[in-house]
Amino acid sequence: MGTFTSPILNYAMLAPILVVLAGAVVGVLIEAFAPRKSRASSQLALSVFTLVIALAALVRTRGTYSSKAAMNSVTFDGAGYLLQMAILIIAIIAILLLADSDKFAAAPTAAPGSDEEREAQAANIRITEVYPLTLFAIAGMLLFTVASDLITLFVALEVLSLPLYLMAGLARRRRLASQEAALKYFLLGAFASAFFLFGVAYLYGYSNSITFSGIAAAITGGTANDVFLLVGISFVSVGLLFKVSAVPFHSWSPDVYQGSPTAVTAFMAAATKVAAFGAMLRIFYVAFAGDVWQWRPMLTAIALITMVFGSLVAISQRDVKRMLAYSSIAHAGFLLSGVIALNKSGLDATIFYLFAYGVATVGAFAIVSLINDSSGEVTDLNRWAGLGKRSPWIAIAFSFLLLAFAGIPLTSGFVGKFSIFSAAYESGNTAILITGVLSSAIAAFFYIRVVVLMFFKDPVEDGTSVVIPSIYTRITILVSLAITLILGVFPAPVLDYISQTAFFLR
């Protein structure tokens, strides 16, 4: 029996994660003790404050990289730093959307239409648990991107997932759909993480180690049983591909995106993608790199299918949230090509793309949350007709974001596409380049369809109207527009910064 030595933790580096967790705990306490009236405001303040602090703490650690911060189980390096920063920034602008908390169920536990719920709504009760939940999820994401051993990775995955499952069910209107979304998300998520765990087990069995570096070493050693490795890689990939909603592990996302409260969808769509791809980058670049010739063909195939499938199905969507869901699937395909590229420019490109896409997504969903009628949000595209007449600025903003998704020059989306495809081609992957370009063409088709709807169709008088955005939502939209534009016109500083900073400690 060896003597137990207490682990050495570098708190400065862990600070961002810890801060967010602490904020979450405080949030729970507020839920427990603070009077109902003050909760909403104090929770919002607390969350924003927490995130800002976390961001500050993160910035303080810049330039100091180490894999020893928590006994090799997390690695703080350039890539991790950038990804965490991306997550925090996106989180900050996304969490402001939660402020319009009349979007959330008064009594989530109450059966829809029950007296209990009616009373709750009558009392104008607003549940504010969503804030601490979000903070927990964020903490999980932050950890997910820097986790460098399998335990941490698995735990982080669950920490970020579980709160999301709940948040998905919190919609105030269309409760049934919302709950269904929660159920689906939960069951499938759990199912996927079971695969993940199984994969983890086999990776451990293969390499006799649970750290990425250990696995990498075992692969380069190449003595161990390849079958284990192969099972491990594929099943772990299943778990990750599920999170990034790549075909054929995508089927949850349209339903969940549609069912969840739009604010949650925004956060989920943007931040989760960053975290999941962050983890994916790390594990593939660090742990599996040596084995690239084995997994690249299959992942390429998945990437191609994902791009095309997402773009094609999006064409026939009638619901704006579902359409955005499918477009996010297509984008997952593009992002995958960055992962597959497995080169420096691939890393840079993916990180830039993640950030740009995440920000734009938040903005888009924020705008979606503005289109309302008496019974809540209007997501049926046909009822968006003539928006350009009714409220041109909103329509222009939304079109701009759509153009960014479509990758039109002078938007961040274009720079992202350009860099990620060139990375893919640089790694000799012509198929990705061509398919990517073609599916972008298909994608353009449905983005433009929405533009046509908004500008060239005459409005239908059915009470659909644009609610005056609250100051918070307004900030969110403006910020995401600004970033999308700036990254489109003057991407140079960001690009340079990423390419100088992004690297993996191995």
Binding site: T109, F154, E180, A181, L187, A194, F198, A201, Y202, I210
Partner: protein
């Protein structure tokens, strides 16, 4: 006895669980199947820990149990809520969202 048999067992359990998820309707049962898959994972871990002769695997298994517990909490909450609103625990009833 050859520890590899445990791997086969675990694989078998995992398969049973996976198939169960696909074929069963009752949310609770489906959930149990998932738990079964998780435990198959645990078993595998422990076995490998035995084969490789270090403890990491078992440590992971412990973490997994905790995580599984959390999942139960969240999962049951959701299932109960949906049961209350739909008066049924059949996951096929919940199919408003599609296409």
């Amino acid at each position: 006895m050859d520890p590899y048999n445990y791997l086969y067992l675990a694989a078998l359990l995992f398969t049973i669980g996976a198939v169960g998820v696909v074929v069963r309707r009752n949310a609770i049962v489906v959930f149990m199947c998932i738990e079964l898959m998780l435990n198959a994972g645990n078993l595998t871990l422990v076995t490998f820990s035995r084969i490789n002769g270090n403890l990491n695997g078992q440590v992971v298994a412990f973490f997994t149990m905790v995580v599984a517990a959390c999942e139960v909490v969240v999962g049951l909450a959701i299932i109960v809520a949906i049961y209350r609103s739909r008066r049924s625990a059949s996951i096929d009833d919940a199919s408003l969202l599609k296409r």
